[in-house]
């Protein structure tokens, strides 16, 4: 199947996941928020659904690989120092900005949240500029 069709189908499944989580548990399917709530200091009290969602995240590729032979996980694109810096920036940024690609990008936009629309515009622009600098200027 064409990769763009697969991409759209993948997006639909992500959307279904967000809708089901809201329908049954009343929660936003934002990965940084779900994970952040588990971290110190003052982890939140509603840990079980968060832990189980993260468990699903980590286990799914293994199931996918057993079922289809391929997990869909690609190789890291950059070296260790860049991964370390990028990890720190993603952690600080999503915690300070209250969301990532799933929370702001899928759930926030679907709720027509002005905060999320702003956040998406800013992180997309920052990421595009960063890629331009690292791939075409440096």
């Amino acid at each position: 199947m064409h990769p763009y069709i697969m991409a759209a189908i993948g997006g639909v499944l992500i959307g279904l996941s967000a809708v089901l989580l809201m329908a049954f548990s009343g929660r936003i399917a934002g990965v940084s928020g779900i994970v952040g709530g588990l971290l110190p200091p003052k982890p939140v009290t509603d840990r079980s659904w968060r832990l189980s969602f993260v468990l699903g995240l980590v286990l799914a590729p293994l199931i996918l690989r057993m079922a289809t032979g391929a997990s869909g996980i690609g190789a890291p694109a950059v070296d260790y120092p860049a991964l370390l810096a990028a990890g720190l920036l993603v952690g600080v940024g999503t915690a300070a900005g209250g969301g990532c690609t799933s929370g702001h990008g899928i759930c926030g936009l679907a709720r027509l949240s002005p905060r999320s629309a702003f956040a998406v515009a800013v992180f997309m622009a920052a990421a595009i500029v960063t890629v331009f600098v690292t791939r075409h200027l440096v």
Binding site: A7, A8, I9, G10, G11, L13, I14, A18, V19, L21, M22, F24, S25, I28, S32, V35, P41, D46, S48, L51, G56, V58, L59, L64, R65, S71, G72, I73, A75, P76, Y80, A82, L83, A85, G87, L88, V90, G91, V92, T94, G98, C100, T101, I106, G108, A110, R111, P114, S116, F118, V120, V122, F123, M124, A126, A127, V129, T130, V131, F132
Partner: protein
């Protein structure tokens, strides 16, 4: 019990979507962000599929008074666009553009067993803990902002 089951199942479905769509491959993500290079619009299709299904689904779900297996909907309070939101999103964007990982795909990629992914995830968790710690201090330098 119910919420745990929903958590695992929605987590699995979420990852199935990520992996099928190519978003668990940093080169696909960076290919989307590289407008000046060999642009790959795949992420646009993921967003279009995801946002439209969620938009319609949320309309149906919010027609009910409360979730099926929980007491109430826990939604972020609609705050103003503030400096924390903008600076946080900008910092996240730079990190995302550097490596091609946002939090979901990074956690999913742990299953590959590659030490590079572990380095990214540990650094990401440390960054989150740092911000939470700053906020937890009295008269925090970073004021509390709501989740997305």
């Amino acid at each position: 019990m119910g919420e745990t089951t929903v958590g695992v199942l929605t987590g699995l479905l979420f990852v199935l979507g990520l992996c099928l769509s190519g978003m668990a491959d940093p080169s696909v993500v960076l290919g989307f962000l590289d407008l000046a290079g060999n642009w790959n619009p795949a992420l646009l299709f993921v967003m279009a599929g995801g946002v439209s299904v969620t938009f319609i689904g949320y309309r149906i779900v919010f027609g009910r008074k409360r979730p099926l297996w929980s007491k109430s909907f826990q939604l972020p309070t609609a705050g103003a666009v503030d400096a924390h939101l903008i600076s946080g999103a900008a910092i996240f964007g730079i990190g995302w553009g550097l490596a091609g990982y946002c939090p979901g795909p990074a956690l999913v990629s742990l299953a590959s067993g590659r030490p590079q992914v572990l380095v990214f995830v540990v650094a990401m968790l440390a960054g989150m803990v740092f911000v939470r710690w700053m906020r937890a201090r009295p008269r925090a330098a970073i004021a509390a902002t709501s989740e997305a």
